[in-house]
Symmetry: C2
Subunit: 161 residues, 2 copies
Amino acid sequence: MQIREFTAADWPRVWPIVREVVRAEETFTYDPRMTAEQAYDIWVESAPGLTVVAVEDDRLLGTAKMGPNRSGPGGHVSTASFMVAADARGRGVGTALCRYTLDWAKRRGYAGVQFNAVAESNERAVTLYRRHGFAVVGTVPGAFAHPTLGRVGLHVMYHEF
Amino acid sequence: MQIREFTAADWPRVWPIVREVVRAEETFTYDPRMTAEQAYDIWVESAPGLTVVAVEDDRLLGTAKMGPNRSGPGGHVSTASFMVAADARGRGVGTALCRYTLDWAKRRGYAGVQFNAVAESNERAVTLYRRHGFAVVGTVPGAFAHPTLGRVGLHVMYHEF
């Protein structure tokens, strides 16, 4: 598996992953009715941010975006988001994207990586992030409306370098 | 003091307040170099959000914006931001804006109000929010670069209804 920078030619293979993840409404606080154009604007970062894809042979398995979490006096902390195709889960794609992001953020001199809204029901992600050095800073109770579990908490997670 | 809906005619009196607050870099994680046009886009909310101003006689003392904190499965929690003119502080403007926001969010049926990034050094704001029922959910260490205090934490605060 290789992680490489996103190019516009990847979008026809990235959009179905984004659409599937967003429409499931199980992990992201994105509007499930977003169009491909809106998704492109949200997902494809420009400098100083970066969007990458995970590819294996000719398959596109997942994608990540990363960049400063806030502006001005908050610009020294980065953030990131990850999406993995449903039929590619459990194969280390999220792990590879997370490692890539941590390396990227360290190289760029960020003080750490912050996740602003991790659904506490997304145990796969929470476990993966903990394994990579993230800790739950706090949990906003009931802030995520899961389609089957009802309202669950949203974790703020942080990995300080 | 009266809190009323912002109109475009207010902008020449709102922009100096926003500019002063943002350039001070003591409270907001906004780019201190932002232009008036960028500030307008960030500060002036469209529905379902709302921007208001606090006025007394003919003076514009402060401003607030409010709206959903996230989209999709996170859209039932609201957020808000407040700015008070430097020479109008300590006169209850922030209190009036905070109360207005809580009433607005309750009437609109939100589950609560979340502040995503309150500099822990901003004791005036933290005290005011606590007094109105907000609690610190967690603090991201060193995530705010204060111009004189150095890196201080950023609180996530929440008031559940």
